[in-house]
Symmetry: C2
Subunit: 559 residues, 2 copies
């Protein structure tokens, strides 16, 4: 018995494209003798469709394409995720298509409504288990959250399911794989003889990034490992699984090409076991960021990108990522030196642009700074230089980048990282300018690790960019640590406070100085207004800025 | 029997301030011989606290202040809204404080999770009705959404409640009052002899605006009206209600001062009946916008504001609103003429600034435009002038405004309206610059009505600003209708499509041309990226941009 798993990358709202994609995978399934094709959660419309779900015609159209697919492949059993309207209620459903029609539908029972998820905004909970028979075997159906909460999986077990197919749209998080598989394996191990087929989608969608990493576990027989397959992250593929032999699961992968940085491991157990090693995590993260940017650019039909290359590490990493997702002739890196730009920055920016062979421009902004200073000097007379003058430089650069993007119908790539987003060490309408912010959820210390990973075989990012003290170069001899704690410390506080939800008091107990903790927490709170106007970027930690973390701007809470 | 209704304006997260505010109202209650003090939904922490609710210490602190208030007023029965943790679950609760402790707690049963609401993200549903006795009468408790869905109200009726106290944090919407009261009255009329005391909070909080407008209905006896009180919109107050006489409800209002534009009606029935007349709706809307800006500015401790005064209607209305909420010496209006700025605009901007007696500056931007043009000319050679050159002007203005705001530690007021936000007729990082966007949800046609309302007694906004054809003045002889349909038509489409959720097909059936509908709907979809980086502004329609309308940026849906 062969099952085809379509680990696909749908486009939100593009029902025609997604239908074609599913049809392509149905053809692969047919060609390889599979009897069942499985596609991910809401595969027909992409995940998350957000308020498109509130449009009547969106749901109607989904239904239209669902029937179209059913008619096209009457002999193949196809499992498709789609929204479903019934008695004025909406469900997050999977349907089994067979003999030209909808043979069976299962409605998701457990609806996530935390973090990035808003499923209770749209959907009602299903009440019945999903089961179908194929060749004398019982197949149970689950959708994503269903497998994390008690109930649906246990019910399928009691109904003697032989196989459970769990379809997902489960967002990537750094270092989540091993833990996720272990938790699910432990739950499966408590049941009797279930095979679990866990299928996740792949791709970037605004703030979310899906990593695939589908897997199959066999029933536990001895103490030994029961993971028989793990697909790896970030490559869309079709996986033909042959369950004919009772002990072995045979696998055939049909992958799409992808502009990867390093190849990914192939052996499932090695993959799982290495999946929490830092080396593996970082190179996979880099591949994930490449996919996130690729999808934002391609799915939004963006043909050209522009970015400010400062000679610092953030823009260097962003430029490298861009070089993997869009042709080099469509990338323009612009160095915009002011009087505070060091020779080192100029040299390093040029070196990197040359190595990556992208279009490189130098546009000095001294004249512009001078003109704005003159414009303002009468009203600013007697006042000290402060952040105003620094912001003017950053905003002139933002303006120039936007002018290129407007004229050549492209997009600016924002280059900020999570550490600066957290504490507001950035200029709104200045270096925050851009349509996509690939490092938005990547702390500065992790940006360094990514830079080292980029250089793993040969020096791409000049070593000096990695080694020098980070500086915004907006005033004389400025370095970031004039205003901020060491990034090692700052990132630890961000991790504990934002991602792990520890309070100020907890942090002080952990040994950070009270003064420092108060300062950082206050900066985080007071810069919500900036983040609210920032470009979207992919969530890669357990708590990203954006829809994952919904804080009031007007917020007077303090301990 | 006297009840004191505290129609207060809490600050989100400012537990100390809110505690003081409640104490102040408890003192008013005591002084006026009231036996029960009622405060709104989540009055202790402000609404909506958003992800602050996920912080353990936030909930702990709420509990701390709750007990403090209880101890301070052992003889007064005080009803306070607060978040409550029980068995690791969180509830949206009201507690009755009495004899120095929490006497009774009711947990909200119906949790709204649509539109601007995310209550299922935080709260679990209560399961039991809330009832307490006072002087032989039974009082039922409800929280906001509880009264809109079947169940909780009917249950209290079956338990023979004499009075139902419904506490709310119910956001303002234009023209909602009459409909809201009628629906609730109809529900009450079906029950036996209930008195309803409906208390709502007042104030602005980021994207939300609460209008108060609390009311009391008596049991229906004859066909005649049973509305015995309606408090009016946007003024925080304490209302002492005397239920001693069986037929009459005596009312005493203790109001805060507020910089109103026109006084509000006093008679409840006249108020309700006039509440859907356009004149009333518009002057109340204007008062609401004044409160929204006032609260954003005061609650965020902003001392100075800056705005670009263009000679057009949007910035004129925003400047008028600002003049009502912050001292004139703390307002700076800057006219930044380019070569396309008309003499008329210069004259009218100056006239308005003079009438409103705010600080007024003229900063020509021709030199700046020229410098950027020179910077870009080599790379733009042979390419037509387009939106790029227009955006450069808007961005220079944004830069200058931000420089003033930075230097004088103030905030820029954004001046865009809903019509341009919808179709993207605005420059990101240009005229969209600002911390608060008071007209964000106000369609252009309504901006005109507000301008006329501002001029109701004397000309404040020069009539020519209202009469002339709207123009961004970013290119030669440009008017808005070169690129957009008439605002009457555009706003109708926005109302039907965005606010009333009609589809493209519906709109074409209604008689709009297919070409026009497709163009507008496409513009709305394609400009989501701009709106995502826009300043917050108060929701005043049934569907505002922001958390009320969550659309994917990457969105390929089309019919």
């Amino acid at each position: 018995m062969k099952i085809s798993l379509a680990e696909i990358n749908p486009k939100v709202g593009d029902l025609k494209y997604n239908t074609k994609l599913i049809i392509k995978h149905a053809e692969i399934a047919n060609k390889n003798g599979a009897e069942i094709l499985v596609t991910p959660e809401l595969s027909l419309c992409g995940y998350p469709p957000e308020d498109l779900l509130l449009e009547k015609e969106f749901i109607d159209k989904c239904n239209h394409f669902l029937i179209e697919i059913a008619k096209k492949f009457p002999k193949l059993k196809i499992i498709i995720g789609h929204p479903r309207r019934k008695n004025k209620l909406l469900f997050n459903s999977v349907s089994l298509l067979y003999k030209g029609k909808i043979n069976k539908t299962y409605d998701k029972q457990k609806l996530p409504n935390y973090g990035v998820f808003d499923e209770k905004r749209y959907f009602s909970s299903g009440r019945k288990p999903g089961l179908f028979k194929h060749k004398g075997k019982k197949f149970g159906l689950l959708i994503c959250e269903d497998i994390w909460e008690d109930g649906p999986l246990e019910e399928l077990n009691q109904l003697n399911a032989d196989y459970v197919i769990c379809v997902n749209a489960s967002p990537y998080e750094f270092n989540k794989t091993k833990n996720k598989i272990n938790i699910i394996q432990n739950r499966i191990d408590k049941l009797q003889g279930l095979n679990l087929i866990y299928l996740n989608c792949v791709g970037g969608q605004d703030e979310l990034l899906f990593d695939g990493n589908s897997f199959i576990t066999k029933p536990k027989k001895q103490k030994k490992n029961n993971l028989s397959f793990l697909s790896g992250q970030f490559i869309s593929k079709n996986i033909i699984v042959d369950f004919s032999s009772s002990n072995n699961v045979e696998i055939k992968k049909i992958c799409e090409k992808f502009p990867f940085h390093r190849k990914i491991l192939n052996d499932p157990v090695a993959l799982r076991d290495s999946s929490s090693s830092e080396k593996y995590l970082i190179y996979n993260l880099l591949n994930g960021l490449i996919l996130a940017m690729k999808d934002y650019i391609e799915k939004n039909s963006i043909k050209k990108v522009f970015l400010g290359l400062s000679g610092g590490i953030d823009s260097a990493v962003v430029l490298f990522i861009a070089s993997k997702v869009i042709k080099k002739e469509n990338i323009t890196a612009i160095m915009m030196p002011s009087e505070f730009t060091s020779k080192m920055s100029l040299e390093d920016a040029k070196k990197l642009a040359t190595i990556l062979a992208v279009d490189y421009k130098i546009i000095p902004i001294k004249k512009h700074v001078k003109l704005f200073d003159e414009t303002l000097k009468d009203d600013f007379v007697g006042l000290n230089e402060d952040i105003t003058e620094q912001n003017i430089q950053a905003r002139i650069r933002g303006m120039i980048l936007m002018a290129y993007a407007n004229k050549f119908k492209g997009m600016v790539l924002a280059t900020g990282n999570k550490s600066e987003m957290a504490v507001g060490y950035s200029t709104i309408y200045g270096d925050m300018v851009g349509g996509f912010s690939v490092l938005k959820d990547v702390p500065k210390t992790m940006v360094y690790k990514i830079a080292n990973e980029i250089n793993y075989k040969e020096i791409i990012i000049p070593q000096r960019i990695i080694n020098r003290a980070p500086s915004a170069e907006l005033s004389k001899n400025q370095i970031d640590q004039d205003s901020l704690p060491e990034y090692e410390v700052l990132d630890k506080i961000i991790d504990l406070h934002i991602e792990k939800n520890f309070s100020e008091k907890d942090l002080i107990k952990f040994g950070f100085s009270a003064k420092l903790v108060k300062k950082v927490v206050k900066l985080i709170k007071n810069n919500e207004f900036k983040r609210r106007q920032s470009a979207p970027g992919p969530k890669i930690t357990s708590k990203a800025f954006g829809k994952d973390r919904r804080y009031p701007i007007t917020n007077k809470f303090q301990l």
